[in-house]
Homo-oligomer: 204 residues x 2
DNA sequence: ATTGACATATGACATGTTGTCACTTAAAAT
DNA sequence: ATTTTAAGTGACAACATGTCATATGTCAAT
């Protein structure tokens, strides 16, 4: 997390910095990004950067966490709007993410995030990997999901279903970027996978 | 891929270099690893390194590809031994991978690989993400898999099933390392997930 | 044996990156 | 007005990467 100093900044200055960071992370991935570029863009001295953040990662994961939180809120809302139908909601969320990548800036940022997504990135952006966080999110969501049509025998099964479907959504986004799939192709793949998951891999 | 010069080296020198690299990548992840350490350990001049490899990544992904190829052979063999029973084979492979991490060196290497696994790493180690490679591997395997108990209507379905189950195996390994799970816990999780996949997420 | 062409070896170096620290400036508290 | 505390600043040490001029080795042709 950024240091207190960062949050004490005027909101304009904070925004300028965040924007500069986003520009850099849109241009290149975390690993190629340089602090020099960010401070130059934001017009602050190098020393100040370290007044606000531990390091480059600190800033990056702060950005990601905000983005992830937005995504989560969005999904929560979609789930409510669709009376807790989990699979319909997943598809809707995926659609929204795909559409958001129509914008070139947005697409490049996402591209850099997803093609370099590792456990730390996923833990921040998603929530699945961090145990406490995933349990907390799970508790927020489990009562909203309509479970009577789901083939589960306990809460643990639901937890796994959520984990599997979100992992696969992430994987599909990564593959979309890696293979430069169109939105339609990416959409179809995820839908086909969900269909398989729903009906089961082996015959009755 | 390493340059021809590397393959022209005596096999002892090649092994020394590979061992030095493995030591460094066991110590730290790709991003923290330094060429300086590798050349020091291997007792070769810095310039020679660039005679053999494009850069650090080149060496790393070469190591990974070898490892991935071994894994693939292993799976192919297991599948044969189990008369094409895909799910039994998956479980057996997972078990073998888990056991191989009992060795501390091996564990640290795998840990650094998996906790920093991104699309490039996965593409190299696995095969799922690279389209041509995944199709090629798929063609090698599709006739060995016993499909009469599988709930699929075409080859595409089988392709997706393989993609999903391998993605989830990787994810489970990552979570094992991230949460420091015991082999037993990690094993149980994957088994539970596979059980869910087999029977399907929604009621008939 | 000598030559020349080519492959390989070598380490100093230019360039860039990160994080720190002594010092300055500003703000707040007494 | 003075002291205490917080924030700003840029030069700098430490280290990393990839290149390049130069040295050395190899081997076929003469």
């Amino acid at each position: 997390m950024p240091k207190q100093t960062f949050f004490n900044l005027s909101s304009e200055k904070r925004q300028t910095l965040i924007q500069a960071a986003k520009t850099e992370f849109t241009r290149v991935s975390l690993y190629e990004a340089s602090i020099a570029n960010i401070v130059k863009e934001a017009e602050i001295p190098r020393g100040s950067f370290y007044q606000y953040f531990e390091d480059k990662d600190d800033l990056y994961f702060y950005l990601l966490e905000k983005q992830g939180e937005d995504q989560w809120q969005k999904f929560f809302q979609i789930l409510h709007e669709n009376d807790g139908d989990y699979f319909v909601s997943l598809i809707k969320l995926y659609e929204i993410i795909l559409i958001s990548t129509d914008d070139e800036e947005e697409r490049n940022f996402y591209r850099n995030v997803f093609l370099n997504m590792n456990y730390r990135t996923e833990e921040t952006f998603n929530y699945n990997i961090n145990y406490e966080k995933s349990r907390k999110k799970f508790n927020q969501i489990k009562d909203v999901i309509q479970t009577d049509t789901l083939n589960i025998s306990n809460e643990d099964d639901l937890f796994h279903i959520i984990q599997i479907t979100t992992t696969l959504m992430f994987q599909n986004i990564i593959i979309k970027f890696a293979h430069k799939l169109t939105n339609e192709e990416a959409f179809r793949n995820y839908q086909q996978q969900l269909a398989l998951l729903k009906k089961g891999f082996v015959k009755k």
